[in-house]
């Protein structure tokens, strides 16, 4: 590693270094847009022109923006919206337009959505009475309120841009009235609205009802998977490189000296070219090209930028990568107690004996049988003891807590169904609660590990006696 504080960097004040850290962290954590959107020029263009036409030509428009998770869909939209605002500013157009953002994650039904639409359009009126009628009526009423509120002489109705994130979830609302109404208005051209649905589901069209589909323009804008690893790597580069100047939070402008920027950026390039880091980037690329996952690996390094250490450190990046890659499932159970391990092996041998589900009593029986056979053989040196049932049960419960062992829930009702004949509702209820009411020793469970993984579990432990190892390998 080069010297921590070099003479040439002393020009940089602590304030500037803080700003550099904030800028890079902001990008990595998704709060500051990257300086450029890599490989997204054509969707950006399409989204921009769609929105712009609604805002300036009063056109009704609808389209779907489709692309995988973390591929930059939301970023494209924010960029397009800011381009619209910029262009209008350049052209000195001041007419009013509204933006409404909905997300299937939080707008879980149409009523909630409608209320929030009104709120976002700054309509203060109490909506309780209008919410009684049909969705379309209420919606038109809200848009009409906008017309009254508008002071523009020329345009009776200001354009509204509807951004519908997680469109597929919105399509799961009963009757799809929200989508129907929006598409219907967009298509009828009476009111200038743009409806832009955003989704990660390629098959999203199949979710739409016929009447909804018929009102949709069928325009699809695709954000494709990144084609080359180089492009993917350059996203990381774009996120980490410092510019010569930048306004991070509108008002506080940061300028960095040329020498700092060039040293900072060449360190970034070095890190990205390092074998371990490049390999990680390639893995993320192969596994689904999620940009968020790519950028996450550099948060730790970026948060360590200080006046004493103004450049990124490779060791930080490598440490984060190691943590990402460590198989989390194994970490937690690699330190369970020997008794818990024995119970896991007992379950493995039950599985190998052909049982797909088993309860604590069976597991304990398996454990006891094995232990007594081997303790009698007395070849173990006497360090092992057979634990009593209640102690083993406590260990077993710890495994359930870790969800290494999962209760089998459907079995009981399936059985009572298989029993045939018409069950009254009461019988069904009694049947399904029966499983839950059984004493915990008898509730059926399943182990969530593969036999191979169980053997692997033992590899790194030194405290496992040879007999147990051999037992696990059987």
């Amino acid at each position: 590693m080069p010297a921590r504080k070099s003479l040439s960097l002393q020009k940089e004040t602590a304030v500037d270094i803080n700003k550099a850290r904030q800028l890079v962290l902001g990008r990595l954590c998704g709060r500051v847009a990257l300086p450029e959107l890599i490989g997204l020029a054509s969707p950006l263009d399409a989204v921009f022109s769609l929105l712009y036409r609604t805002v300036s030509n009063d056109e009704g428009n609808s389209a779907l923006l489709i692309g995988p998770r973390g591929s930059g869909k939301s970023s494209v939209i924010s960029k397009a919206l800011s381009l619209v605002a910029e262009k209008r500013k350049r052209e000195n157009i001041t007419s009013k337009y509204h933006i409404v953002r909905l997300s299937g994650f939080i707008h879980t039904n149409d009523k909630i959505a409608l209320r929030d639409i009104a709120r976002q359009l700054l309509i203060e009126q109490d909506l309780e009475n209008i919410l009684i009628g049909s969705f379309a009526d209420a919606f038109t009423y809200i848009l009409n309120l906008l017309r009254v509120a508008s002071v523009e002489g020329e345009y009776g109705q200001p354009p509204v841009l509807f951004i519908l994130e997680e469109f597929d979830l919105l399509a799961q609302h009963p009757k799809q009235s929200l989508l129907y109404t929006l598409f219907d208005i967009a298509q009828s051209q009476q009111t200038p609205i743009a409806v832009l649905g955003v989704t990660a589901r390629i098959d999203v069209m199949d979710l739409l009802e016929k009447r909804v589909k018929s009102r949709f323009s069928h325009r699809q804008i695709h954000v494709h998977y990144m084609q080359s690893l180089d492009d993917f790597t350059s996203i990381a580069r774009a996120a980490l490189h410092l510019p010569l100047s930048d306004n991070i939070n509108n008002d506080n402008n940061a300028t960095f000296s040329e020498i700092y920027v060039s040293r900072f950026n060449s360190r970034v390039d070095e890190i990205l070219a390092t074998e371990s880091v490049a390999a990680y980037i390639a893995t993320v690329f192969d596994l689904g090209k999620d940009v968020r996952q790519l950028l996450r690996a550099f948060v730790l390094a970026a948060s360590h930028i200080t006046i004493e250490q103004p450049l990124l450190q490779l060791t930080d990046a490598e440490a984060s990568i190691a943590k990402e890659e460590a198989s989390a499932k194994f970490q937690v159970i690699s330190t369970i107690s020997l008794l818990e391990l024995c119970l896991i092996i007992s379950m493995k041998s039950l599985v190998q004996g052909g049982s797909s589900k088993y309860n604590f009593e069976m597991v304990y029986n398996e454990y006891k049988t094995f232990m007594s056979r081997h303790l009698m053989a007395a070849a173990t040196g006497g360090t092992m003891k057979v634990y009593k049932k209640p102690i083993a049960l406590k260990a077993f419960e710890a495994l359930v807590e870790l969800e290494v062992v999962r209760p089998v829930t459907t079995a009981v009702s399936a059985e009572s169904n298989a029993g045939g004949g018409a069950f009254s509702r009461n019988d069904m209820l009694a049947g399904s609660t029966q499983g839950a009411r059984a004493p915990k020793e008898y509730r059926m469970v399943q182990i969530m590990l593969e036999p191979g993984q169980i053997v692997e579990l033992m590899a790194n432990r030194i405290d496992v006696p040879m007999v147990i190892r051999r037992w696990a390998q059987q």
Binding site: L28, G30, V32, G70, A200, R296, A328, A392, E401, R437
Partner: protein, 461 residues
């Protein structure tokens, strides 16, 4: 902000957690740095996850308005979670003067997002939006069954509100088991709290050393306890519990002038009854802490070791045996037999003229015993009340006193959950029941009425 180096201070307070504290502090960073939207703190029980984070925030933010600590078991509806969070961020405490009202009312996710935006972005004129706010969700695995969108939306809180928010999830379940099926939840950054090594455990328990006791002496004791218990239990809390309960007994001989502090071997020997008999029962909480402290006086090393053992067993037994009327005990035994024995063999076992033992051999020849699907392993099966009564009348030696109302006895066994109903309906005749009592318990009950249950059990080992 922090004056002295927070890491070194916290690391002293929490031995063995230096690396995790480092990582957390790096992600917390300076107050206006952007934080990762999700951090996932996970690891086995009793590895200091909650304690470290609690302490870290208490020192990091003395005003308490930048973080909210929410326990997901306590806040069992999304609404409680939302309102608790906003109370914390707004610095609002429900109390008498505000009639225990919350800061705002939040019914659903949209309300929550809007309230957060109002509080952090709008109300402060954008000032607070840049300061990181933390939402710490303990026992986060519970969030999975609070609606499919809650967890996802919380992990996108920063994106959805435009404020600088980090959500910290704490759990002992791994992230793989959280990931919602629709795939919209961005993976949080993992921070792993590993299980403590032996030396770390000793460092931590060393802090429990009673004030006037020599630490090296105390640690030798802890070491011994660790060696006995780590094979079946690696939980730090359990170990501390045992040490706290047993250490006074261990040093008692010193004060009673039976041994000196240098005679470890002798002290261990004097303590032996506790190690073997009490520790297991304390671990299983068969003896409660208060009971132990009250009654363990008799268990002094001055007394005969056999007496000691006996008194310990007595304590556990008191908690264990069921005190039931004489006939009710037989009813329960009958229920147990009906739950586990095959009905087809009832005639052989319970016909009055012949004892069961002869027939049992015959039964053995017919069936393969000791199989993996024997009733003992499968658990109790449902039986008709009539069958239980038939067994009851056959195992009871003398005719039943006519004043005993068997139906009422059955009803009270159901109320006590010793019998569970396996079919619906309020009337007790004609329904099916299961016996909800373990083999050990039924053996104890049988002993108390001098009934040899093992002779009647089919295919038990």
């Amino acid at each position: 902000m922090m004056t002295t180096d927070p890491n070194s201070r916290l690391s002293v307070q929490f031995p063995g957690r230096g690396e995790q504290i480092d990582q957390l502090l790096a992600f917390l960073g300076q107050p206006t740095d952007s934080s990762p939207p999700g951090i996932f703190v996970y690891g086995p029980t009793a590895t200091g996850k909650t304690a470290v984070i609690r302490e870290l925030f208490a020192q990091y933010d003395s005003t308490g308005q930048q973080y909210a600590l929410v326990n997901c078991i306590e806040c069992f509806t999304p609404r409680l979670l939302f309102e608790r969070t906003l109370n914390a961020w707004a610095g609002h405490t429900p109390n008498v003067s505000n009639k225990y009202a919350n800061y705002v009312r939040c019914e659903n996710l949209v309300d929550f997002i809007n309230c957060v935006r109002d509080l952090l972005v709008v109300a402060s004129g954008g000032q607070r939006a840049d300061t990181t706010h933390y939402l710490v969700l303990d026992q986060a695995e519970r969030l999975r069954d609070r609606g499919p969108m809650l967890l996802t939306s919380l992990l996108r809180l920063s994106e959805l509100t435009g404020a600088n928010i980090a959500v910290i999830l704490i759990s002992n379940v791994v992230w793989d088991k959280f990931r919602p099926r629709h795939g919209g939840a961005p993976d949080p950054i993992p921070i792993y709290f590993s299980a403590y090594t032996k030396s770390q455990i000793l460092d931590i328990v060393a802090k429990d050393c009673p004030q006037d006791e020599p630490q090296a002496f105390f640690l030798t004791f802890v070491d011994a306890i660790y060696e006995v218990f780590h094979r079946n239990c690696v939980d730090l809390n359990e170990l501390r519990h045992l040490v706290a309960m047993l250490y006074p007994k261990f040093v008692q001989p010193v004060f009673e002038k039976q041994a000196t502090r240098n005679e470890f071997a002798r002290l261990f020997k004097l303590c032996q009854p506790y190690f073997s008999a009490a520790s297991e029962r304390l671990y299983l909480r068969e003896i409660s802490t208060s009971e132990w402290q009250k009654n363990s006086a008799v268990a002094s090393a001055k007394n005969d070791p056999d007496d000691v053992t006996l008194s310990i067993y007595q304590m556990a037994e008191d908690a264990e045996t069921l005190d039931l009327p004489y006939y009710t005990k037989f009813l329960l035994i009958a229920a147990f037999l009906a739950s586990y024995n095959p009905a087809r063999l009832d005639a052989q076992y319970f016909s009055r003229s012949k004892g069961p033992s002869k027939r049992r051999k015959g039964a053995k020849a017919d069936d393969a015993l000791g199989g993996k699907d024997r009733q003992q392993l499968l658990g109790p099966k449902a039986f008709a009340i009539e069958r239980m009564l038939a067994i009851f009348y056959s195992i009871i030696a003398e005719p039943v006193d006519s004043s005993v109302d068997v139906q009422i006895q059955i009803a009270s066994l159901v109320t006590l959950r010793l019998l569970t109903k396996a079919s619906s309906g309020d009337r007790l005749d004609g329904i099916k029941c299961k016996c909800n009592v373990s083999l050990e318990a039924i053996r104890a009950i049988s002993r108390s009425v001098k009934f040899d249950i093992d002779r009647f059990l089919y295919d038990f080992t």
